[in-house]
Symmetry: C2
Subunit: 481 residues, 2 copies
């Protein structure tokens, strides 16, 4: 595919344009002729495939099995849970015609699958022996988007959605948090290489129909927060709407308790916003389709450098996806530039002089450092370098959040803090108050951290309205994607 010599707008100049430029330069995705829908190009999709493989394994380790439910949901299902329809109705795509005829009842293209899945659960679950029922689905969903941005907000996106049923409220809450802690948190920190906060959402930010929503959320380079994954405790709200009941050990018919949880192609947006720089994409090795690229410096396909470079690339473990760039229509410099834009963690340059000296040049994408090393040592050095790049990228995000989070006790401190990152503040937790904060500052409550300490303050009051607070814990506020 043609990949033009794309220049990238610097971050400080226009952050939104920089984001768009990085995607184009790395050939990750493009807008489609259908407004709000994106085309995920092969390189972008290869990153998604890496994510899916890791997440799928982590999810299966929590006991969930994959299944598949219909794309279409009867409108009447969506309307059964009052909060749910209120939340989703402005975003629905509706099928009114099928097989050449107008449908008697319109069908909704799934915006999420609680309703159609719990309808199945109502048939699958009969006794306490059928619980817990732990299901996951990899699917596309549609939520009509007025201000689309590639990966971050698209009308159609790809995701996994987990749906479970448990015998008690306590078990449901436990599993909600288990997914957050054992799947989403380690995925973000170990694979995405991104520091994340884990916590609970406010009333106005929680999922439509949930008792409580928990999330992972991370601070991007521009000081805005990105919600990267959510896990919902649905209590028995949907079970009551869809008749998900079981006979308990005493033979009594009882409603089940549900959880649902999901992450999406938005994670690719988070990956870009977290690590990339003015030269283009920067990939954490754990999710890079090619962790290493070997670029020969040769103008003739028969140059011994070509064979040596090919052999070098083939010598790495298969999991590296090492790429030998044998394109003869590009100069070596153009290839360097190409792989830099694509964020390949380690580039190896091999020219005639290097080969004669039994050495090659290693270039790290994260720091730009360049070193000549002996060919005999390359494998060991690259292995360590990949681990160090993964760690370095993570450390940068941890440093960022540490530096750009401020404990605030006055409104002035608050407004200053949310210009740069997180403000940690006492808050009354009232939706009306949150709406006012948003109007004044564009910031919203992001989460109440799971590990938020109880503060040693006598009578803390809300940072915005001065009313008494519910709990002596500080919330995180920020502007958000």
């Amino acid at each position: 595919m043609a990949n033009d010599n794309q220049s990238i707008t610097p971050r400080h100049q226009d952050h939104a344009q920089w984001y768009q430029d990085v995607i184009v330069a790395a050939d990750l995705a493009e807008n489609s002729p259908v407004r709000g829908c994106m085309v995920i190009k092969p390189y972008g999709y290869a990153i998604w495939e890496k994510m899916v493989a890791v997440l799928d394994e982590l999810i299966k380790k929590q006991g969930a099995a994959n299944a598949y439910f219909p794309l279409f949901i009867p409108m009447s299902f969506i309307e059964k849970e009052a909060e749910h329809i209120k939340g989703f109705s402005p975003e629905l795509a509706v099928v009114t015609h099928g097989g050449g005829k107008q449908l008697e009842s319109p069908l909704v293209v799934r915006p999420t699958s609680e309703t159609i899945i719990y309808d199945s659960f109502s048939r699958w679950i009969k006794s306490y022996r059928d619980l817990p029922l732990l299901i996951n689905q990899w699917a596309n969903v549609v939520r009509w988007e007025m201000r689309p941005r590639l990966f971050l907000r698209t009308t159609e996106f790809l995701w996994q959605e987990g749906h479970t049923a448990h015998a008690s409220a306590k078990e449901a809450r436990k599993y909600t948090l288990q997914i957050l802690k054992k799947v989403y948190f380690p995925f973000a920190e170990k694979y995405l290489g991104v520091h994340v906060l884990t916590g609970e959402k406010s009333e106005s930010e929680k999922f439509a129909g949930a008792l409580a929503t928990f999330c992972i959320e991370s601070l991007m380079q521009d000081g805005k927060s990105l919600q990267m994954g959510t896990s919902h405790d649905l209590s028995d709200h949907f079970a009551k709407s869809f008749g998900v009941q079981y006979l308990n050990e005493e033979g009594k018919l009882t409603y089940a308790f549900n959880t649902s949880w999901g992450v999406s192609t938005r994670l690719i947006g988070g990956l870009i916003l977290s690590h990339s720089d003015d030269k283009g994409l920067v990939l954490p090795p754990a999710l890079a389709p090619h962790q290493v690229v070997v670029v020969p410096i040769a103008t003739d396909a028969k140059d011994p450098v070509m064979a040596a470079a090919k052999k070098l690339a083939a010598g790495f473990p298969k999991t590296y996806g090492a790429k030998f760039d044998d394109r003869m229509n590009l100069r070596a410099g153009e290839k360097f530039y190409d792989w830099e834009k694509k964020g390949v963690p380690v580039r190896i340059e091999l020219g005639p002089k290097d080969l004669a000296a039994n050495s090659c040049v290693l270039v790290r994408r994260d720091t730009g450092e360049k070193n000549s090393v002996a060919l005999a040592d390359v494998k060991t050095i690259v292995k360590d370098m990949l681990a160090d790049i993964q760690k370095t990228l993570y450390d940068r995000t941890a440093k960022r959040v540490a530096e750009q989070t401020v404990v605030v006790d006055t409104w002035e401190q608050f407004t200053a803090a949310v210009e740069k990152g997180y403000a940690r503040a006492f808050w009354c937790e009232r939706p009306e108050c949150e709406a006012q904060i948003k109007e004044k500052t564009k910031a919203t409550s992001r989460l109440l951290a799971l590990d938020a300490p109880i503060e040693n303050v006598v009578a803390p009051v809300c940072i915005a309205c001065g009313q008494k607070v519910k709990r002596k814990k500080r919330w995180y506020f920020a502007k958000a994607y």
Copy 2:
């Protein structure tokens, strides 16, 4: 999940009901409240996951990369290729409302993605250096279905669809056949364990918009043929409709040549129809989520048999997905029955007497054979047994097609042959003639085999109308799913 003691209608009694019963008994899928759409349950989906893993690897070996294109297609795109819209228009699902408003132009839920993908190709392809462009997509598609049957014909189904662009008609034809021979044929024969014919479709059976359609097709137990996968040579038909052009080496703007190819969840239907019996599902080991199940015969969780059975299951290679059935609420006999219905290739029974004798009982699902073997030999014996089951299942399908294919030269022979399987006959290749054959016998042309010999007959005539034939080769006819 509750899996009731489901009885299975014998094949000879009611083949269609038997098929439905096998699916229910093995807990593979169910009809959803949305007519024509199915729910693929965890066990059915686990089989699909095995299929996807194998196919994805085979496809990538042919050089194709995965990508993802929008679910929605503008109606105007579908209408651009005249044959295409003619073929698909009765099957379309149409979105007329999005985000709370009526859309200015309706969107079609993709029935297949040629149009939206070649629109992208028209931007991606500029020069001969961009060719061949080899793309694959794993996705859901929707074709409104009036007579749905689980897996075989559903309004929504899961599939892969490959889409490529080549510099010449010759290269496109070559790749069309490469996919058939290097992906679909070996997948069917080595993994599904099903004998398949490979050949070309007639004018009336080919894909809407294609120059030629090639397929794999297999004879089911009831003597009907099932199309299992297709690969289309699209010539430059779509390239001309969507402006897919490239500058060739002489700098001249030239239309590209496309191919498209797909297999779907229909393969699961084929798997069931090929191998299963009156006791339920029979799985080829290569696609079985659990190749082996170990069932302890014990009523107490502390019985030493339990620990020994657990250890036995854990001792098999991870790829076997060996299952240790430790459910204490079922009797051993109930478990045997359960795994039989689910088609697990090898069942291992371990009771107190077996354990005392350092032996266990192996039961083959395909033949029902039961043998006591020494625990020390189990691994080797099971390994050989799995290979033998895979081979036995395949051999049965090869024997079936050999026995139920008849070379016919009279109409009487023809009508008798298509009652039991394939008739191989000379045919004029006229659509009107095919329509008449179908009306009289319910049989249609299935394919002209790739390896069909030129017959040593002076002036062969059409089996149905007596007109002169185009080629001295016999077509396969059969009733079809």
